[in-house]
Symmetry: C2
Subunit: 252 residues, 2 copies
């Protein structure tokens, strides 16, 4: 059965989409069949893979409201071992629309059951919030990968996120663990990055990935070409670091 | 009557909090009585001003659910002309709790009525979403200031945000205009910043501020000292650019 990993952090702009997209592409490059689910109404993962999201006839929204099965909305990508469940702005309405449903926290989990066996990894890109969409992802997951920028505000939110993970484990999903905390946009020349890094490693000694993702311009350029960084510029530091992260997850 | 300006963009990490906090501090430095409202459950604006948010007995949450008047939760800051309405993680529950209320989009607007005359400017820091908290801010505002990073994903979301602003203007608040689009974390050395900048200026020629906020490490260090950047390092480029933005808003 495929391992379901949510990429989550309510702090905005910490590299959730960049991590979900490039880690799943790296796992696919290692020939692990991977499904990437875009659960953010912004649809950045979808457009980051070059898919014109406003022309899609069905997305993850249709799956959550029950009008489509997950298999029906899965899209192929440029990588043979990588499939995508796309999202677009239709998903903005989901938070309010789903709140009244009986099974509102398990909609994604139930939908994933029919495809999970066909993949080795399922990665879910979450929006910058702790509302129903993110709860659906956590309730469906085996683990949570937490990207964090080494900046002051990003550290502040970590406690709240871990609290929400604990609540979800108690009330909705007892198997939920932490896949790891990933430092993103790390700038070795600046003190703040090192200070925050040390602080987080001190509080969560065995949870922080060895791999650190450096700030690398190619990572922010690649989505405008609709490609994961390993297809945009395989030799750059951004691509190397996500391939290294994939190895760390596969072999540690 | 004080001018109410929402600082909003559903894209995460584009500099909403950094802008709301440092622009309001700069307006206060120009002796304009300013109220800063933290409407983000992350409470970054509150902690960025050095306030220990978990010890607060009442916050903006209590105002929205109607158990406190806004006057009762206003806090003084290190700047004489700057007051704060704080937030903390209690606000995470508000989205679901308020959805059922009659007047759910106008809760903030109604609460601000009793204090608006006492301030020249009211700035509202919004969360990275387009849900009820952000709608409350837009419904209460005279205008919206849109921080945007000059990166691919940040540009994608602009259309959706302008659509939401248009809807709010039609359904809830006919006076709502755009205060301006502000480029943040601008890095003149990289092509992407210039390309996105040109693209945005082309689409919205008269809406983009002359002032551009450069990437400046002091802006990300100052919140860890609980101070706006003009009190942390008045001579740095970050402080200069927000003082320039305040001048552009006051005198243009
Ligand atoms: N390591 C990196 N080096 C340089 N730029 C990066 C890096 N990682 C991400 N970025 C850029 O930083 C911005 C924020 O990253 P991203 O959109 O992945 O974060 P997010 O957490 O998904 O944001 P949101 O909270 O809006 O969903 C994007 O413009 C992205 O291209
Ligand atoms: N001009 C700048 N130069 C350098 N760092 C900056 C600048 N503006 C903001 N930052 C840093 O970038 C990060 C994101 O900024 P900020 O938290 O203000 O964005 P936001 O839009 O409020 O995020 P969220 O969507 O989570 O509310 C913060 O760590 C902040 O300190
Ligand atoms: Mg994202
Ligand atoms: Mg913020």
């Amino acid at each position: 059965m495929g391992r379901i990993v949510s990429v989550a952090n309510q702090k905005g702009g910490v590299g959730k989409t960049t991590t979900a997209l490039n880690l799943s592409a790296s796992l696919a490059a290692a020939e692990r069949k991977t499904l990437l689910v875009d659960l953010d109404p912004q649809g950045n993962t979808t457009s980051g893979l070059g898919i014109e999201k406003d022309t899609l006839s069905s997305t993850v929204y249709d799956v959550l409201i029950g009008s489509k099965r997950l298999k029906e909305v899965v899209q192929k990508t440029a990588l043979v071992y990588l499939d995508l469940v796309p999202a677009n702005t239709q998903l903005f309405g989901a938070e309010v629309e789903l709140v009244g449903l009986e099974n509102r926290e398990r909609l994604l989990g139930d939908a994933l059951e029919e495809v999970q066996a066909a993949y080795e990894y399922v990665l879910v890109d979450c929006p910058p919030s702790l509302t129903l969409l993110t709860i659906n992802a956590l309730a469906a997951s085996d683990s949570v990968l937490i990207p964090i920028q080494c900046e002051y505000y990003a550290m502040e939110g970590l406690g709240q996120l871990l609290h929400t993970i604990r609540l979800t484990r108690e009330e909705l999903n007892s198997r939920l663990e932490i896949e790891g905390i990933l430092f993103t946009m790390f700038d070795g020349r600046n003190n703040l990055s090192h200070q925050v890094g040390e602080e987080v490693r001190k509080h969560f000694p065995d949870k922080v990935f060895e791999t650190v993702i450096p700030r690398n311009i190619k990572l922010s350029e690649s989505p405008s070409h609709g490609k994961p960084v390993i297809l945009y510029d395989i030799g750059c530091k951004g691509a190397e670091s996500y391939l290294e992260l994939a190895r760390e997850i596969l072999f540690s």
